[in-house]
């Protein structure tokens, strides 16, 4: 099977696989594709097995797509996080055999709630639960970061491999002089290489890169599991707040906990609520208080450094999308338009690396 199965064919393929898991043939109905996600497909369905009924979702990685964590590793880190109090939908089954539906997949429980940022922020504003949600996210971070990294699945991504597959391997740069994994250095070395591949120089991004090297923090006291993409858009939210954290494909075994906290604080993830630093939901104080109450240890300098790094990474990503359009790898008006979004990220980056005591005049 070359393409991922759809419709009735997909339902039959899922029934074939789940029959092996369950020992009897289940019936799948109400199969419904989520429109979100190009790299991963989420398919909702109801499973009936004898008298039992369950509302489930299959997350499928099309074979051709670049896989970050292998599906079994992603399923295992989800299960580990869930066992440690991080809200994650329960995993029902994992399939690494691409022959069933045309790609590896896992099946998990379906959790009701909003995921689309615009709707999440409207719900949060209507109910006045922005602070609650931000605090719940902070507590989830703290629980994730408290897990012994040795318990992670052995094939979970490592920070030391950042960059492989995108550009030349950066392994030497990803280690500090003593040979230990240094997530900040690894991430920055990756961006340094990408910067040199830009078809046109972007001095504002270059100045950001320069600042990041000048302010590179020492390796963190403790490397922790990191999700690397927790933000509004990757969480399921109900009237009670945080219900589940999704998309663990980029989770790593040896990250800097502050990179997780900094990510939802990027301006682009505030969805125009610029004055609420944490995901457009709440201020930084809420995040810090809840993270520390749940056992985490906040580090402001590292938090700021990772914010600048994330902003630079996104700016380079947009420039890369425009390049992919121009050189014909991926022709699309959306990719072309990304090139004109780079100045937004340049501005955000310049505001983050403002020299002490200097104001810009508008």
């Amino acid at each position: 099977m070359t393409a991922v199965a759809r419709g009735d064919e997909l339902a039959t393929a899922l029934e074939d696989f789940l029959q092996i898991q369950l020992g009897s043939r289940p019936v799948i109905r109400d199969l419904q594709e989520s429109s979100a996600g190009a790299r991963r497909r989420n398919v909702f369905f109801t499973l009936r097995n004898g008298r039992d009924e369950a509302r489930l979702v299959a997350t499928i990685i099309p074979t051709a797509a670049i896989q970050q964590n292998p599906i079994p590793a992603e399923a295992a880190i989800r299960t580990l996080a869930r066992a440690n109090g991080v809200p994650v939908p329960a995993t029902f089954a994992v399939c690494d055999d691409e022959s069933f539906v045309g790609g590896p997949f896992f099946v998990s429980e379906r959790v009701d709630g909003e995921t689309i940022p615009r709707r999440v922020l409207r719900l949060v504003a209507d109910l006045g639960i922005g602070e609650v949600l931000a605090a719940q996210m902070a507590a989830a971070f703290a629980r994730l970061h408290s897990i012994d990294p040795d318990l992670a699945p052995p094939d979970l991504l490592s920070s030391s491999l950042l960059g492989t597959g995108l550009v030349a391997a950066t392994t030497p740069a990803s280690k500090d002089p003593t040979g230990a994994t240094d997530p900040a250095r690894a991430a920055l070395a990756q961006l340094d290489e990408i910067m040199d591949l830009l078809p046109q120089p972007r001095p504002a991004l270059r100045l950001g890169l320069r600042w990041l090297w000048q302010n590179l923090p020492p390796p963190p006291a403790r490397l922790t599991l990191v999700h690397s993409d927790i933000r509004v858009g990757n969480v399921i939210v109900g009237p009670d707040g945080l219900r589940a954290i999704l998309d663990w494909e980029g989770a790593r075994r040896d990250g800097d906990p502050m990179e997780d906290l900094a990510w939802p604080a990027l301006r682009m993830w505030r969805f125009r609520n610029d004055d609420r630093e944490i995901g457009g939901l709440a201020g930084r104080d809420t995040l810090v208080r809840a993270y520390e109450e749940a056992g985490g240890s906040f580090d402001l300098d590292r938090f700021r450094w990772w914010k600048a790094l994330g902003t630079l990474r996104w700016g380079l990503g947009l420039a890369g999308q425009a390049a992919a359009h121009l050189d014909g790898r991926f022709r699309s008006v959306v990719m072309a338009a990304s090139g004109r979004r780079v100045p937004e990220l340049e501005w955000d980056l310049l505001m983050l690396i403002r020299p002490q005591g200097h104001q810009n005049t508008v």
Binding site: S35, Q200, P201, R202, P203, A204, R206, L207, R210, W211, Q214, R267, D274, D275, E277, R304, K307, S332, V333, V334, A336, A337, R340, R341, P343, E344, E346, W347, L350, M351, L352, I353, R354, P355, H358, N360, V362
Partner: protein, 127 residues
């Protein structure tokens, strides 16, 4: 001189077509791309009005920063950008306060471009 409508007026007509006629007539998965295209039309209209002045300001600001010890008189904006990029790659770049100087110039340059691609984005100046 070309016959009217001018470029801005033609772009305006294309924008109206995309927003008023095309958007409601296409399926959902295409609407996002049409919306992006309509926004690009607005960017091009602002570029048509503001572009030349912004290019001149950018060129002058970059020349002041990169020169005067380099022969910047005849350099294009692209060459100045490459020169500044090269300067910022050096560990011990000159002048000593290049980071601060470059920051101020780039804030102004980026601000000029934002007036075209995303007016108002520079209103937020915090972290």
């Amino acid at each position: 001189m070309s016959s009217p409508p001018n470029a801005d007026e033609l772009l305006e007509a294309i924008g109206e077509l995309l927003e008023t006629d095309v958007m409601p007539a296409v399926p959902g998965d295409l609407q996002h791309r049409v919306r992006v295209a309509a926004n690009l039309v607005q960017i091009l209209r602002r570029e048509w009005r503001l572009g030349p002045e912004q290019d001149a300001l950018e060129h002058a600001a970059l020349r002041d920063l990169v020169g005067p010890d380099r022969s910047t008189a005849d350099m294009s904006t692209g060459e100045l950008l490459a020169a500044l990029d090269g300067l910022l790659k050096e560990d011990a770049a000159t002048p000593a306060d290049i980071d601060v100087q470059a920051w101020h110039v780039l804030v102004a340059v980026v601000q000029g471009e934002l007036a075209i691609v995303k007016p108002g984005h520079d209103q937020w100046q915090g972290e």
